[in-house]
């Protein structure tokens, strides 16, 4: 996947991204409400949001579910992938629908991914599948305690 780090955003896009990282209102016409706070029409909010999603400046827009509160499980895991096998292993890992994110990181543990499953038992099954598909050991890092989670990036 190419890294899209050269995308030009105008001031309106940036204000919209900042506004949309907060709470989206549960009123009848929420895009109109967001637009009013920014001086934009409802149709411009929708068109800009669609374009930002299309250009992958935003990876998604909607409810961010905390699967553990819904009876599911969410586990960070890592692999030490031999460099010459990296792309092949990434394809095998990414093929699992349980893999929500996957990042390359510069370390002996060079592939880090998050497994999200509807039941806690689903995690073990996904780990077994990855181990049998790749022949590599999965190191699981389940959350033992959460101290803080709130990702908001200033779009400038």
């Amino acid at each position: 996947m190419p890294q899209r780090d050269d995308i030009a955003l105008d001031a309106t896009d940036r204000a919209l991204i900042n506004a949309l990282q907060g709470g989206f209102p549960l009123c009848d016409e929420p895009y109109r409400a967001v637009g009013e706070s920014l001086g934009l029409s409802e149709s411009e909010v929708i068109a800009r949001l669609a374009a930002l999603l299309e250009r992958r400046v935003l990876t998604r827009f909607g409810p961010l579910y905390q699967i553990e509160k819904l009876g599911g499980a969410f586990v960070l895991a890592a692999l030490k992938v031999p460099e010459e096998r990296f792309d092949e292993v990434a394809a095998a890992v990414n093929a699992l629908p349980e893999v929500a994110h996957n990042y390359r990181r510069e370390h002996a543990f060079n592939m880090w991914f998050v497994l999200a499953t509807e039941t806690p038992e689903g995690i073990a099954a996904a780990i077994e599948k990855i181990e049998s598909d790749t022949g590599l050991t999965v190191f699981a890092f389940p959350k033992e305690r959460e101290y803080f989670v709130e990702l908001k990036l200033d779009a400038g």
């Binding site: 929708i46 409810p63 579910y65 819904l70 996957n102 190191f139």
Partner: protein, 158 residues
């Protein structure tokens, strides 16, 4: 636990909200329930934390945050909760967790994500965490992400 209607609502929204003037009405039409019920169910899931927030997830790189570091720390188990709360309170830390060690390869039990537009800025954040932990920290490392291999978020099976 989500009931069947919640589950259908999650399935209908996990890829994103409808980009139409009345999105709750559009979801209600899809699910065959009233728009008030869509709003009430979303509000209830926000209240329990089953939905963290309704919002946009930016691609870090597209916003210029090219230096996304997973900082990891080996802190005494007796101190990790107190220190974890302090590290999590730093304004530039987006996620902070206690996780298991995998000895001998992985001695770290405290994880904190930092995001910056330059390597220098990211390393300055790491130094601030190191200063906060002081002698309570035996070792640390920073793992910068160099490629997004996948980023889809949660997907329940249909």
């Amino acid at each position: 636990m989500p009931d069947e209607t919640d589950r259908r609502l999650i399935l209908a929204t996990q890829a994103g909200l409808p980009l139409v003037p009345r999105p709750w009405q559009a979801l209600a039409d899809m699910l065959g329930i009233a728009p008030q019920e869509v709003k009430a169910r979303l509000a209830a899931m926000l209240a329990t934390g089953a939905i963290r927030r309704i919002g946009a997830v930016p691609n870090h790189y597209a916003l210029g945050y090219r230096f996304n570091g997973m900082t990891v720390w080996d802190v005494d188990d007796a101190d990790v909760d107190r220190l974890g709360r302090q590290v999590g309170a730093l304004p530039f830390v987006s996620h902070c967790y206690r996780r298991p060690r995998h000895l001998p390869d992985w001695p770290y039990n405290l994880f904190a994500m930092v995001h910056a537009k330059s390597r220098e800025a990211a390393l300055a954040q790491v130094e601030r965490i190191a200063a906060l932990l002081g002698s309570a920290c035996r070792a640390h490392d920073v793992l910068f992400s160099s490629r997004i291999l996948k980023k889809t978020g949660l997907r329940l099976a249909e």
